[in-house]
Subunit: 297 residues, 2 copies
């Protein structure tokens, strides 16, 4: 039997301020703390370097974008190298004038950029005007090597799409990381909040189960109010589930917190032997999945 050792991962839930230097410095500190706690792969929340500027459409917010490599990856690269860990670093990526992505860079233990993922599914809803800012990704669904095996990276809205999870898992990932920025509209929270958060957790547990992979969701926390709006209360709730969807670690607070959990390749082996879903996929029968809708019947 192929044997790999269990390893720790660190899910860093943060509460970003409007001060980019502070956010990056805080992320560096927390990544180092996670490494001290045993984490070998560490993930930060979506767009952790700034406030969630997508609450409104404002061309000045494009000034927040940076290159890969750039200030965020350079700062985290240093801690990756010092602590010999892999860090998943979400970046508002400037690719060219008028061409921006919601991305994450995977930085290896030598401080090098192992790869980049660009968010494929872009939402657009009141308070989440992402289609204005982000061109949909064009790098596909990927997993990236670490000294402990391959890990997949997807970002927030991707988490509602089983195709994205499937394709990252088929690319050999043992864990899917979902840096996220999802929260409540305060006026909806009392009536709808619990079912919204539950749906978010459930759909991702479903991806873990149907693919036999660990799933780690790393959300931001805190209330971010934009002038003239009620703002968004990011719901934290960072969690890790195992390949059968069992919750193995979760945030205990609604604020900044490091969640450390363990990835055990032997558990993946055990679950996939007992529940061999990959064996029985009907790959001859899925071609209509690239259709928008089946209109004629």
């Amino acid at each position: 039997m192929e044997h790999r050792d269990p390893f720790g991962i660190g899910l860093v839930q943060t509460e970003p301020s409007s001060d980019r230097e502070e956010n990056i410095a805080r992320a560096v500190h927390l990544a180092a703390e996670a490494a001290k706690g045993g984490a070998k792969v560490i993930c930060l929340p979506e767009l952790f370097g700034s406030r969630y500027f997508c609450q409104r459409e404002d061309a000045r917010s494009f000034d927040l974008a940076e290159r890969i490599p750039g200030p965020s990856t350079e700062a985290l690269s240093k801690v990756a190298r010092e602590r010999r860990v892999t860090v998943i670093v979400p970046v508002f990526e400037r690719r060219a004038a008028g061409l921006f992505h919601n991305s994450c860079a995977v930085i290896g233990p030598d401080g090098e950029i192992v790869g980049v993922y660009r968010k494929m599914h872009i939402p657009d809803d009141p308070g989440y005007y992402e289609k204005y800012y982000f061109t949909p990704g064009d790098l596909g669904y990927r997993s990236f090597p670490t000294p402990f095996g391959r890990v997949g990276t997807l970002i927030c809205w991707d988490q509602w799409y089983p195709e994205a999870a499937r394709l990252s898992a088929l690319d050999g990932a043992s864990v899917l990381f979902y840096p996220s920025a999802i929260g409540w509209h305060p006026s909806e929270k009392a009536e709808r909040g619990e079912e919204q958060r539950d749906a978010w957790i459930t759909v991702q547990r479903g991806h873990a189960i149907s693919n036999g992979v660990y799933v780690a969701a790393v959300n931001r926390a805190g209330l971010e109010s934009a002038p003239g709006s009620e703002g968004i209360e990011f719901w934290g709730s960072t969690f890790l589930v195992d390949p059968f969807g069992v919750v193995v670690a979760r945030a205990q607070t609604l604020g900044e917190e490091i969640v450390v959990g363990e990835i055990d390749p032997a558990r993946i082996e055990e679950v996939r032997r007992s529940w061999p879903f990959l064996r029985d996929r009907r790959i001859d029968s899925y071609r209509d999945i690239d259709r928008r809708f089946i209109d004629e019947r």
Copy 2:
């Protein structure tokens, strides 16, 4: 706004005996009861006409197969016509000598066969030797018309495959029905039972959420012991969840029971407007889903 009225569905959880006539008569009775209770679309469990013969490989069990149309569909067709309801009738289908399927027929309110679905994903595990009995389906993923809108039918092992749910939903289904036969190995139940049943519920709730459809799982119940084995304790737990994965009805017993729930097209409209996942699918990017695994990297 396109307007359709809510309608009731009936999920008939049964405990089949080894007497086929009795199983069919009981199903007819329970379908009529569900109709009296307001159900307009009624679903029976997988292979409800017999014991779960797949616990071992025995060529004599092919004698249990029948044609479509055949005794099962004819008996349920009568109640469909009398009560003006749609009935989903699982059948061990004989197609030709040496060619059998695990199927279900959808019978409309005039008693006619509206369509047939043949289980696409076939399991094979100790105690569930289905690959011996059933040729994988060749009719694809389908939805079928009823007077209350289209419904999709999938069968048991299909429920672990997001591709199957997606394709049935894209074919216009407002509800996905999963006739099932899943249970515990009694020796595993204490240690693993709860997490197994929870994974089964969770993955199906995930399909409801990612597709914005109702999902109805209709399982058999009861312990079926085969000579020389500990048997299988079918776990019942028949349930209906709404398009955001919220449980709206579920079985209260581990035995024969009719679960009646409501399908509200306005709820589908509301959920899909708030969470417009179908809008943002990246249909240009899913083509590798028809690969078995991505080996080269």
